[in-house]
């Protein structure tokens, strides 16, 4: 716990100008993608995402989070995600066309990186020991928003990676009491729900095995399970605070 906030302070204190630059670049690219989507912008966005993931792996985990246990595993995790973006670029998948669906929800997710520091401040923390826009969880939320707003076909491996990250976030809430991580879990679950609903609607046209009814039932069961997990974590969280 102590190490966790110490590493975050060191990271924020040393890199805040670069973080602001990265966040601004991200905002600019997102705007361009909305207003004037072209091939160059899409390529730029993918390169930017790869850069962002490598930044998290290299700068955040390998340099500033060295005191934490398992920083190398986490760095590897984010480096793999960066490689997936590069592969995506090389193979020309998930072409980042604007789909126009769920734009309000996606907008909410785009604003999340800005919400993170605010949430930290609201919880009574002070700079530099706050969650900032260029941190694993904020980047994960931003990626989800990007996939939701712009990709016709979601890169499923990447989506699953983020889903895994969200679950680790939830476990962090459960064990260490870092409520900011709720934000990620709360945005990933509805996003995945939207992905799967969309998918079920797409395949409903052709004969499929199993029928869309079974798929929807499976989705409902999953939602129920995830909901139970959430509730249990929340209750445990209250216990944690009550015990303090």
């Amino acid at each position: 716990m102590e190490t966790f906030w110490n590493t975050i302070s060191a990271y924020n204190a040393a890199t805040w100008p670069l973080q602001i630059a990265l966040a601004a670049l991200g905002a600019l690219l997102t705007l361009l993608l909305c207003v004037r989507p072209s091939k160059a912008v899409r390529t730029g966005m993918k390169l930017y995402m790869a850069l962002l993931n490598f930044w998290i792996a290299g700068v955040y985990y390998m340099i500033y989070c060295r005191p934490r246990e398992y920083h190398d595993m986490l760095a590897l995790f984010w480096a793999i995600m960066g490689c997936i973006w590069l592969y995506d670029l090389a193979a020309g998948h998930a072409s980042l066309e604007r789909t126009g669906r769920h734009s309000r929800f996606a907008l909410l997710l785009f604003l999340m990186p800005a919400v993170y520091p605010l949430a930290s401040l609201a919880l009574g923390r002070t700079f530099p020991a706050i969650t900032s826009p260029v941190m694993p969880c904020s980047v994960a939320v931003f990626t989800i928003g990007l996939m939701l707003a712009f990709s016709q076909r979601v890169n499923i491996v990447l989506a699953m990676f983020l889903c895994h990250w969200a679950l680790i976030g939830l476990s962090k809430v459960y064990f260490f009491g870092i409520p900011e991580d709720y934000l990620l879990a709360c945005s990933v679950v509805p996003a995945l729900y939207v992905f799967f609903r969309e998918y079920v609607r797409q395949i409903a046209a052709a004969p499929s095995k199993p029928s869309p009814r079974v798929l929807n039932a499976l989705l409902a069961v999953l939602c129920l399970l995830v909901g139970t997990f959430f509730t249990l974590t929340l209750l445990h969280q209250f216990d944690l605070f009550a015990g303090l």
Partner: protein, 255 residues
């Protein structure tokens, strides 16, 4: 009495049928019985012996005694139990209803064109399955959750790589590595991390070739049985390699 051309047509169809079954993970003696049943419905005696990559078939016209032989390559198809049941039922229908070859061929085309199981459905159910597997091994609920998402990552990676036609040994190594890497996140928390690590790559275990290999050996098709077992064993070695890559990184915290 059949003309040479008719005999060839029958043999060609049965060759396609038998290799399709062998490619879809059906054990050898069933393929032989099914093929002979279709042959019998056409008044032709079929003998067949199979290896891992190819099959030798001989058709003999029972009235004229004329013989035709072919060696056919076995296609690499995904395992499909639905094809197994449907095509076995087709062979019984052919015999019981004395179907003409044209009709059998038409039904075969219809059955093999049926949609395969939906990949996203498989992805989600495999995640749930591996999670409950973790529970069966005595993992706690945190470990169960982490195994669920780790399996989703590993299996999604496997599906995408297979769709892109990556070498399947490489697919198994990378998928096992990714799943166990994700599961190693459990080490940071106070939970049954060993169980999570152990369970995460188990969705890759090649159960169908393993059991088919044993069945083949017991039924006397020892050569192909061993080839199947060695195939399965190689895949298991690949899983072990992927898992060990993760274990080497985290071994100090497991002792």
């Amino acid at each position: 009495m059949k003309t040479q051309k008719e005999l060839h047509e029958i043999l060609d169809f049965i060759a396609e049928y038998a290799t399709y079954l062998l490619g879809s993970g059906v054990h050898t003696s069933r393929v032989i019985r099914n093929s002979q049943r279709i042959g019998a419905s056409q008044g032709v005696d079929i003998q067949l012996s199979s290896f891992q990559k190819s099959t030798i078939l001989t058709a003999r016209d029972e009235t004229s005694g004329e013989v035709v032989t072919r060696v056919v390559r076995i296609p690499a198809l995904p395992v499909s139990f639905e094809r197994n049941s449907d095509l076995s039922a087709l062979s019984w229908d052919a015999l019981d209803e004395r179907l003409p070859l044209e009709e059998i061929r038409r039904r075969f085309g219809g059955l093999t064109a049926k949609p395969r199981i939906d990949p996203i459905f498989v992805l989600l159910t495999v995640g749930l399955a591996n999670a409950s597997f973790c529970r069966l091994f005595g993992g706690d609920w945190t470990a169960v959750g982490i195994v669920f998402t780790a399996t989703l990552v590993g299996f999604a990676a496997k599906q995408r790589m297979q769709a892109h036609g990556v070498n399947h040994y490489l697919v198994f190594i990378v998928a096992a590595f990714m799943a166990s890497l994700c599961a190693s996140a459990a080490l940071r928390f106070d939970c049954t991390a060993q169980t999570a690590l152990a369970t995460s790559p188990l969705f890759l275990v090649p159960g169908v070739p393993l059991i088919n290999g044993v069945i083949d050996i017991v039924e006397g098709h020892i050569l192909i049985g061993f080839s199947r077992l060695i195939n399965a064993l190689l895949l298991i070695v690949c899983i072990a390699v992927g898992l060990s890559a993760t274990l080497l990184m985290v071994k100090n915290s497991l002792l």
